[in-house]
Amino acid sequence: MTQNNLKNITVTVNGKEHSLSVEPRMLLSDVLRDELGLTGTHVGCEHGICGACTVMMDERPVRSCLVFGVQADQAKILTVEGLSNADDTLHPLQEAFREKHGLQCGFCTPGFLITACHFLEENPHPSREEIREGISGNLCRCTGYQNIVDAVEMAAEMLSKDKKSETDQCTVQAMQP
């Protein structure tokens, strides 16, 4: 590794600004995990199939194994660590995953949560078929998806009930320091 190849970046992750030097070939998933210690973002296939590494980048879900960390310069990132509220109460999606047994081994869960979070913002009252399509970019090897679909459905109901409390909106949270 050549030190002179390092690039300085400033990235806001879960509302907190970080300035760091990264090698350009370092994937965003590795920057989050290894440089910032945010190991909630999981790395599965590392070539854009499994979706485990999904994070929100500038309010859009992206596969963090298909973005270089250097590209996140000046970007706003939301990882699974940023989902829960400041007082550590769970996000409705997290509660619903627990309630409906959508986790099993839990490896794919962070990616599912972020994907579902964005999906429900765009489609607050989805049908089960739409939920299946919405999470189609994420693979789970345990649950057969049934419980995950149940969980997203439950979260949709919880979120629409909570609509008056804007704090459950992921993008809003991601923007707040």
């Binding site: 854009g48 980048m57 992206v62 596969r63 194994c65 298909l66």
Partner: protein
């Protein structure tokens, strides 16, 4: 799986990017969305020495509609195409087709230019652009040139773009009135690469007869295939299911797709006939409704 070391450049203007291309030549690779390139780099199937990241060239991200065409900058992302109300109104084939690209995460980053230059014959955008009779504008420090998709796509993952050139925009002729579109694909799972992909455009005259029609297929050859031999049989007739089926039966003799682990050549041929008939029927139906 981690990418090999590369030198990283992040130009903010087209001019700067083209100069870098001149400077580094074959050592350089342009990265836009990176949704095909980065997986290849992660697996070290691609090891570019220099990466020119064009994501900050704002002048390449636009959708402009004129009286005669739709102009789209190379850096326009799939989700932007998907969300554009203007495009949905004028050329819904793009909207409908872009929804079939990968998953939400892929559409967040992937770009029009990246998909077209990558030239995967099972990808949606190359087939859509070929079906719409689009042209592609390529720029270098020496100037720019505009070519048809037919001139552009050579074979699997290969185009006629020169070493020092970059795709800057795509132009799509504005569809005439009374035109209906449809696109459909056969995939093993939602969002997977298509095994066979079919797109159609059908334009009717005042009497409801077919004035012109285009059928584009993906996944059957190294480039998008336009089958005028099939649609010629529709011209001058009021489209109906039997006529379309009859025309589509010819496809069996016109395409010779390669077999792979997912499907035999024969099965793919059958899929082509089924999906071609399906999109032509739907396009005709939509043209009638207009």
């Amino acid at each position: 799986m981690k990418p090999a070391v590369f030198e990283y450049h992040c130009p903010s203007t087209l001019e700067e990017a083209l100069q870098l291309l001149d400077e580094y030549g074959y050592d350089a690779k342009i990265m836009s969305g990176g949704q095909s390139l980065i997986p290849m780099m992660n697996m070290r199937l691609a090891r570019p020495k220099t990466l020119i990241d064009i994501n900050h060239i704002k002048e390449l991200n636009y959708i402009r509609v004129t009286d005669s065409d739709i102009q789209i900058g190379g850096l326009t992302r799939h989700y932007q195409l998907q969300q554009s109300k203007e495009i949905e109104q004028i050329c819904p084939l793009i909207t409908e087709g872009v929804k079939l690209i990968g998953h939400d995460q892929i559409r967040s980053r992937g770009t029009l230019g990246g998909s077209v230059v990558h030239a995967d014959p099972t990808a949606e955008l190359p087939v859509i652009l070929s079906t719409l009779g689009a042209t592609v504008t390529l720029a270098s420090t020496e100037g720019s040139r505009t070519v048809t998709t037919d001139e552009f796509f050579m074979t699997f993952l290969t185009t006629t773009i020169e070493m020092n050139e970059m795709l800057v925009s795509v132009q799509i002729p504005r569809p005439s009135a009374n035109t209906g579109f449809a696109i459909d694909e056969f995939t093993l799972r939602k969002g997977d690469f298509a095994i066979v992909l079919a797109a159609a455009s059908v334009t009717l005259d005042e009497q409801g007869r077919v004035k012109s029609a285009v059928l584009g297929l993906g996944g059957v050859d190294g480039v998008p295939v336009i089958l005028d031999e099939v649609t010629a049989g529709l011209i001058g007739y009021i489209p109906d299911r039997n006529l379309i089926a009859e025309c589509c039966n010819k496809i069996g003799e016109l395409v010779d797709p390669e077999p792979d682990i997912h499907a035999s050549g024969e099965y793919r041929r059958d899929l082509c006939i089924t999906y071609a008939a399906r999109v032509l029927e739907l396009a005709a139906e939509r043209a009638i409704k207009q």
